[in-house]
């Protein structure tokens, strides 16, 4: 299969006839992320996403917490104890937790030295623009749609806030905006794409951790990057969302990670819920028949 056919989605490029553009996406290389959160800020500014103050999480220096209706890029900080000489510490994961435990919230704890069994991982999370997008499939109004670029976008003039996409997404990306009622998420800067500009987050990223481009080209670039890291002895480097045989047919926005996906709060084996649709409806059919049988049997027993 050529890359182009691998990357086909159920609605792209076929439904666009000749007007389909090349499928675009993100390759987020977390090995060079420095956790500056410029992508979060750029996204908010460009897309005029409202503030969502969280206060301090108390678990790490990540205080913006999660993706949601008001955060379409989120940089996770994994501040984590690791094993030294085969011994894993039972201390809390992060220095923030350690400071809290020792009631040193004001002073903080001593910063760590290398080889002290501590690591920092950073990763900028975003909507995956899945090849098989469950959010799009379950949307009852047709508000969520596949664009000519193969991305997944919510049409805000259609969305009636039913909330189905929120629970359908295997990554917890979408959410309903309070006071507004509609569902919001990353549009991969649909407006900028139409003016041949790259998305705001990718443009703002100072280390090129967020790379934007045509998906087939990004995929090649990512494979080369992993090989390079492996050659340098970083064996834990791996691609996430690159495999088109996964439960969502591959991601439009995929990642290079330095540990298992769950470390970054990414599900290790996401499956589009709609893959179970046949099984679901068959079970409902059996249940409806059983109900009909129970009704008939009850009536056949006479009226007393």
């Amino acid at each position: 299969m050529s890359p182009a056919t691998i990357l086909e989605t159920p609605a792209w490029p076929d439904s666009y006839d000749g007007e389909a553009k090349a499928r675009v996406g993100f390759f987020t290389d977390t090995s060079v992320c420095i956790g500056c959160k410029a992508c979060e800020v750029a996204c908010k500014e460009w897309n005029q996403v409202p503030e969502d103050p969280h206060g301090y999480t108390g678990t790490s220096y990540d205080n913006s917490a999660q993706l949601g209706a008001n955060r379409w890029r989120h940089v996770a900080f994994i501040e984590q104890r690791v094993e030294v000489d085969g011994v894993s510490s039972s201390a809390p994961d992060s220095w923030v937790q350690e400071a809290q435990r020792q009631q040193l919230v004001e002073e903080g704890v001593e910063p760590h030295e290398d080889e002290e069994g501590f690591r920092w991982l950073m990763s900028s999370d975003v909507c995956k623009h899945c090849t098989e997008a469950a959010c799009l499939d379950v949307c009852p109004t047709g508000s969520l749609f596949r664009t000519e670029y193969g991305t997944v976008v919510v049409q805000e003039d259609i969305c009636n806030g039913c909330g189905y996409c929120v629970v359908a997404c295997p990554f917890g990306v979408l959410d309903q905006r309070k006071g507004d009622g509609r569902a919001w998420k990353c549009t991969l800067c649909y407006d900028r794409l139409q003016d041949d500009m790259e998305p705001a987050c990718a443009q703002a990223c100072p280390t090129d951790s967020i790379q934007f481009g045509e998906l087939d080209e990004l995929r090649e670039r990512a494979e080369q990057r992993v090989e390079k890291l492996h050659d340098r002895g970083i064996g834990e480097a791996r691609l996430y969302g690159h495999d088109t045989d996964d439960g969502v047919g591959g991601f439009g926005a995929f990642f290079l990670l330095l540990d298992e996906p769950e470390t970054y709060r990414l599900p290790p084996d996401p499956v589009a819920t709609t893959r179970h649709l046949g099984e679901n409806w068959r079970a409902a059919g059996v249940a409806a028949l059983a109900l009909a049988g129970a009704v008939v049997a009850s009536v056949l027993g006479g009226s007393r």
């Binding site: 999480t57 790490s60 917490a65 949601g68 996770a76 994994i78 094993e83 085969g86 011994v87 894993s88 039972s90 809390p92 435990r101 499939d137 379950v138 009852p140 109004t141 047709g142 508000s143 969305c159 009636n160 806030g161 039913c162 909330g163 189905y164 629970v167 359908a168 295997p170 990554f171 917890g172 309903q176 507004d180 509609r182 298992e260 769950e262 470390t263 970054y264 709060r265 599900p267 084996d269 819920t273 709609t274 649709l277 099984e279 679901n280 079970a283 409902a284 059996v286 249940a287 409806a288 059983a290 109900l291 129970a294 009704v295 049997a297 009850s298 009536v299 056949l300 027993g301 009226s303």
Partner: protein, 357 residues
Amino acid sequence: MSPTESEAGDVRGDVRASTDGDTYVHGASRGEGPHTAQEARTGVGRDRGAKEIPMVPKDRPRTYYDRPVVKSPVWKPEIPWYFFTGGLGGASSGLAYAASLAGNRRLAKRSWFLAFAGVLASPVLLITDLGRPERFFNMLRVFKVTSPMSVGSWILFANSVTVTPAAAGSLLGFPKGLGRRAEPMAALVGLGLSTYTAVLISNTSIPAWSEARRELPLLFASGAAASAGAAATMITPPSYAGPARRLAIAGAAGEIVNSQLMSRRLGDLARAYHEGEAGRLDKISTLLTVAGGALLAGAGRRRAAAVAGGAILLAGAACKRWSTFKAGFASAEDPQQTVGPQRERVEQRKGATAPPV
């Protein structure tokens, strides 16, 4: 290879403290033995704050500061009540049509009345739950087979347009011909209405709902039968209420049995149904369902017992829908429920493709 060496190569294989003292166990084959030396070194029950925290000699997959992976539903209390009214109304249509075919006019009339009550209540509940209620009609701008909510919106629409003439024909005598013709259609749509809501919630990324996809429709159908039967038993003279009573008892039995089957299938995920608020509601529901069913079975031919038993059974069915609803929130909030089974699948696939040693 000694157990300690095997631990060294695996970052996820470390010992994690549990704050609840009751930890989700994932990958039961890993764990026990290898951690003993570490426990001695790191101190069991180390003090963190005022609470004693036992070390857990089992492995938990890494999560991001125990924060959820998937989002909790944004659905409000209208939704479990809709599950209840939809089930009650839908199954009432079936009971009404069957009773009318059998010539039990009194039961048929009352059941059509209940089905129509469902028609009045259900859309209101659904519409008020929307983030943008004024855009309800956008539900009817497409028909999407991949969206159980789209299919359900059309089922609810069809339910309204079939039950209304059927109920009017039966209760008011007008429109008689149209009402008669609408009756079988209303009964058929009612079967869909009482079961599709299970598909609605099992077609999500919430583990305790999604993994129960084979049992949830039967559970919801049972609840619908119990509700419709119980409500009709309450308002029908006992000498005509036999079919409703039997349907109520069968539904109650179905709820208990399917609940058990579902828990067995879910394994560890069943905790979402048995702990916290969902667990409390589940216990109350079981008590009410057994008591109401037993009362109807034992003394249901007496009017007072029929009313009491029916009311208890209705309360039990409502609690069951609420318990199921709350379990979805508990499951979504627990990252272990999302990550655990997925990690197991990954490891299984790895095991299947690994070259033999």
